[in-house]
């Protein structure tokens, strides 16, 4: 039954591909296809629930696909051929629904995995008219193909008895890590997301990246020593978390900032998984329970909140035409609902209490703390490292999202003058996703028993850790926050004496006569001192053109922070290969004599070798 959902999505995809001449029909077919497949998926889950892990990794797709479909109805108007878009949109959703169910046969999984890469590649390069999209599309396709080739090697090594186990392990982790955005392998994420249409990047970062972790957990780790797996995930997760959020700070493009924060969140999820495996290795029950819950909650929360943020970015792009935070500003007045949802999701994703982001992080913290208090020195170090990284990235995430929200939505509009109104198709799904996240905050304490029943892992007893009580208290205090703030609002409303009414006026900018929007603190200004703090890591490049002469005409300041991995690792590697190829090109020099000479030498060498051996 569940395969039906993938089947329906694929059929809808092909249908809308066929009628790509008539846009309208394709749109209807696309949206209908997505909704039908999601309904089939949910019905399938209720009738014959798949194993816990597959269910977990299907949930984000089931949640995000309809939201993104509704959003893209308005998003792709006038952006390109809707037939192709809906076709490949449904095909990608089909592959993402099918992948978690193919746990048994790795080869089937690999085929669908590479198909997912190709379909999402077409979506990424949807507005192919832009020149800089060539590089982005190339990088994205290379990442998918490299992952596929590594997994082919992984599959091949599983047959070779002589081959060393570490190579098998490295190939698997690297192959899946490419999709999961592990350090050094994350290069395609910050390139593909700004270029892809917003609903597509919502699905990709919400659901597709987790499949990388799914692959590692299901195919690479069985049979390997648990503590090795735990430590790999923890270290790789830690590096990609810190690296991700630090590189998110100086980004000027809104979706690029969100892409880096996806890298950070996938790092947090792999750290949670790492704690679970380490707990499993040292039989620390509370660490396993908190680790599992942390992973589940964080995957779902990240899918929901990151989906909202990307859809918000999509709406911002549609109404203001640009994604650069410094050029926007004051979007809250033009697109109030999107602004509020974006702010709420931003606060949630940086792990702050009233939203579900906090509950996920709380579980991971508790896993880390149970590691710290467990007495085994390995767990203790892992716990301290995990907790410290989580808190540092939490604070950096607060800064990054303050910049994103402050720069885009708050204050006065800087360069964007005519803004289109926000359409209900676009902010509807955002409200739906936010409602779901609030629902999770208050429903998780009651669903914990059935989560562990679905996972049906006998060795863990979750009751002893009192996790339900913890979740209940966390939820109740979030509710208390709402109650208290409404009380204070009412108190403020009534405490005022009748005579002193509220007045409106320009911002008191310390007596400035005529404050203009250009004097406002832009997003990059907000992050400038943080950028200096981490400059040794970020290596921010500044191009300053100071004003010269008595009457300076033109002065400019520009700064950009290219991706560290790309600048210091991938760029040199690719130029090395290009250098080698230029040298090798000399052999095809066009001289016939040279060719025949080489042929004779090689033939003589082969004959001599034949005679000797």
């Amino acid at each position: 039954m569940i395969f039906m959902s993938a089947g329906i999505a694929a059929a809808a995809g092909i249908l809308s591909l066929l009628c790509c001449r008539r846009g309208g029909l394709a749109g209807v077919a696309g949206v209908a296809g997505t909704f039908l497949s999601v309904i089939a998926g949910i019905v399938g889950i209720c009738t014959s629930p798949p194993s816990g892990v597959s269910l977990l990794f299907m949930l984000p797709t089931l949640i995000l696909a309809p939201a993104a479909a509704v959003h893209s109805v308005a998003y792709i108007k006038g952006h390109g051929n809707p037939g192709i878009y809906w076709g490949f949109f449904n095909l990608t959703v089909a592959t993402m629904l099918a992948l978690p169910l193919l746990k048994e046969d790795f080869l089937e999984f690999l085929i669908i995995w590479e198909l997912m890469g190709v379909f999402s590649f077409v979506l990424v390069m949807f507005n192919y008219k832009a020149e800089e999209l060539k590089r982005v599309a190339w990088i994205y396709l290379l990442a998918c193909e490299a992952g596929g080739l590594l997994l082919m090697l992984f599959y091949a090594l599983s047959f070779k008895t002589g081959a060393p186990r570490e190579l098998f392990y490295i190939a698997g982790v690297a192959g899946f890590g490419l999709k999961a955005g592990f350090p050094l392998l994350h290069l395609w994420l910050p390139e593909a997301h700004p270029a892809a249409p917003a609903p597509v990047s919502a699905i990709m970062s919400g659901a597709m990246i987790n499949l990388g972790l799914f692959g590692i957990v299901v195919f690479v780790f069985p049979g390997m020593d648990a503590s090795l797996c735990g430590w790999t995930l923890l270290i790789l997760g830690g590096i990609s978390t810190l690296g991700g959020i630090l590189f998110a700070l100086p980004q000027d493009n809104l979706k690029r900032l969100l892409a880096y924060s996806s890298i950070e969140n996938i790092g947090i999820i792999s750290m949670a998984l790492g704690c679970t495996f380490l707990g499993g290795a040292f039989k620390n029950n509370s660490m396993i329970v908190f680790g599992i819950l942390g992973t589940i909650l964080h995957i779902i929360n990240h899918a929901l909140l990151k989906g909202t943020l990307f859809l918000g970015a999509g709406q911002v792009y549609c109404s203001s035409g640009t994604l650069s935070i410094d050029r926007m500003g004051g979007m809250m007045k033009k697109t109030p609902v999107t602004g509020s949802c974006f702010t709420a999701a931003a606060v949630g994703l940086s792990g702050l209490p009233p939203f579900n982001g906090f509950i996920g992080e709380l579980m991971i913290y508790l896993a880390a703390f149970s590691g710290i208090c467990s007495g085994v020195w390995q767990l203790r170090i892992a716990g301290i490292a995990a907790a410290l990284i989580l808190s540092l990235t939490g604070a950096c995430a607060v800064a990054a999202f303050a910049k994103a929200v402050g720069g885009t939505f708050l204050g006065e509009p800087r360069h964007v003058d005519d803004c289109k109104k926000e359409s209900v198709w676009m902010y509807g799904p955002m409200l739906f996703l936010l409602f779901l996240s609030l629902l999770i905050v208050f429903s998780v304490p009651f669903t914990v028993p059935c989560i562990f029943k679905v996972l049906n892992v006998s060795t863990i007893d979750y009751a002893s850790t009192g996790v339900q009580k913890i979740l209940f208290c966390a939820a109740s205090f979030s509710a208390l926050f709402y109650v208290l703030s409404t009380l204070l609002l009412l108190f403020r409303r009534f405490v005022r004496v009748r005579g002193n009414e509220n007045a409106a006026g320009p911002t008191w900018d310390c007596g400035y006569a005529k404050p203009s929007a250009r004097m406002e603190y832009t997003g990059s200004a907000l992050i400038q001192c943080l950028g200096d703090l981490f400059n040794s890591f970020l290596q921010i490049r500044r191009k300053i053109e100071p004003p010269q002469g008595l009457f300076p005409k033109k002065a400019s300041f520009q700064w950009e922070s290219p991706d560290g991995a790309e600048r210091f690792f991938w760029a040199p590697v690719f130029t090395f290969f290009a250098g080698v190829s230029d040298k090798v090109h000399k052999f095809q020099s066009g001289y016939l004599h040279m060719y025949v000479l080489i042929m004779t030498i090689v033939i003589i060498a082969m004959v001599v070798w034949a005679i000797i051996s």
Partner: protein, 456 residues
């Protein structure tokens, strides 16, 4: 029954003679009828299993290759019908085309059907002779240079193969058997009594000879020039048809290898395979001309086929060759379309094809993705089985080189198809109509891939 096979060879010759007589007037019609007839005949007699003195059809691989070659020829002739109308070329070159193409087909069929090493050698030499004038279709200086190099290098290589055949006969004599006319079936009977030393020398020379024709690494230098200068249809035939026939020569030689020389021959094949994969990879990276890029991709796939034959045996190699021919034919025909529409082969000067030539651009991109072995294409399964069965020291470099090839090709193709329109005056009229044959080729390859994937 042998007469039926003989008919297979004489029918194209007949069309060639008619074309010669009527001075290139009904050239397109003749090509089409010749191709149709040949295809019908092949399908009819592909199930015959007979081992005649000169020609015969004995094994499943040979009939598969025969069907592939004639289907290929038929597809190319359909393409030619539309292409020759679009291409304004002189009556004389039409005449040359009308003669040489059927003769090329006849010689290729003779290579596949020949049951005698001598006859096979003569046929392969003849393919060189008849394909050389085809390269000269565009009458440019570069085409002349390409033809001269093609002629010289291939004939030097093929002569070495003759020497190899001689040494093979000598190895048989040293093994105590007196042979008069190099029949393959006789050699198969006396397989293990061949003198190993002389057989190794014979195999080396044959590998060098037929390897030159097939485009293996150190002997590949003629291939990029010949395939990029020849017109689209001819390079499709050259790359998809001729390379398989020359590979058949090596397969027949390797089938005779006695046990103790077995791993020597495999080792040699693997080394040549990995070297040609490496050269192709490094030549694709900064390649400025998309037809040369496709030629180097043929060299790469012939390298993979050689490794597959050495490591996984004949079935996988056959699937690889069939898939490669189907996709490469479509790609070369599409390249022909692009050349016809854009007028230049420089990748740097072409961009924004999605806007100007949407049909061709999408097919070209899909074809390149398929040729690089992404799952829907059967090449994925063959490369996977190569990785599974190859020793570790071979799998790792192969994976790296496959990635380098993919990176190189995708960069070129994406820079051509995406982005703003380039300043070239592109007239998409003819090019857009000529996409049906490549579509057929790609769907055939996809069908093979899906069928292969499903019953895996």
């Amino acid at each position: 029954m042998v007469s039926m096979l003989a008919l297979l060879i004489t029918v194209p010759m007949l069309t060639a003679v008619i074309a010669a007589l009527c001075k290139g007037r009904f050239c397109r019609l003749l090509l089409l009828t010749g191709g149709l007839l040949h295809l019908g005949l092949t399908l009819y007699c592909s199930s015959i299993r007979i081992d005649g003195r000169w020609i015969g059809l004995t094994s499943y691989t040979e009939s598969l290759l025969l069907i592939l070659t004639s289907a290929l020829y038929f597809a190319v002739s359909c393409y030619c019908c539309v292409w020759l109308k679009a291409e304004e070329c002189s009556r004389k070159s039409l005449w040359v085309l009308g003669i040489c193409l059927p003769l090329f087909l006849a010689t290729m069929t003779l290579v596949i059907l020949s049951r005698n090493f001598g006859v096979m050698w003569v046929a392969i030499e003849a393919t060189t002779l008849f394909s050389a004038p085809l390269i000269l279709f565009h009458r440019s200086g570069r085409a002349l240079e390409a033809m001269w190099k093609y002629l010289l290098i291939c004939s030097v290589g093929i002569a070495l193969a003759l020497l190899g055949t001689l040494f093979l006969a000598f190895a048989a004599r040293c093994g105590g058997v007196e042979l008069h006319d190099l029949r393959i079936s006789e050699f198969l009977n006396i397989r293990d009594s061949l003198h190993p030393g002389w057989f190794k020398v014979a195999f080396v020379l044959a590998l060098a000879g037929y390897g030159t024709k097939m485009g293996l690494a150190p002997f590949h230098t003629w291939l990029p020039d010949a395939h990029s200068e020849a017109p689209g249809a001819v390079s499709a035939l050259l790359s998809a048809g001729l390379l398989n026939c020359s590979f058949l020569g090596i397969i027949r030689f390797a089938a005779l290898a006695p046990e103790q020389t077995g791993d020597f021959c495999r080792g040699l094949l693997i080394i040549l395979g990995i070297v040609s994969l490496a050269t192709a990879a490094f030549f694709i990276i900064h390649q400025g001309d998309f037809k040369r890029m496709l030629a180097y991709s043929s060299i790469e796939h012939m390298g993979i086929a050689a490794m597959l034959f050495a490591v996984c045996g004949i079935e996988m190699t056959m699937i690889h060759l069939v898939a490669h021919s189907a996709i490469k034919m479509s790609l070369f025909l599409l390249a022909g379309n692009l050349l016809l529409a854009c007028g230049t082969r420089q990748i740097a000067r072409i961009s924004g094809l999605f806007n100007t030539l949407p049909g061709n651009a999408i097919l070209f991109l899909a074809g390149v993705i398929l040729i690089c072995g992404v799952p829907p294409s059967p090449l994925f399964f063959t490369e996977l089985s190569l990785l599974v069965q190859a020793p570790l020291w071979l799998s790792l470099p192969t994976v790296l080189l496959l990635f380098v090839v993919f990176a190189g090709m995708m960069k070129n193709v994406l820079s051509m198809t995406m982005g703003k329109n380039c300043d070239l005056a592109i007239n998409p009229a003819h090019a857009e109509r000529m996409i049906w044959v490549p579509v057929a080729g790609l769907t055939a390859a996809l069908a093979i891939g899906i069928v292969f994937g499903v019953n895996l």
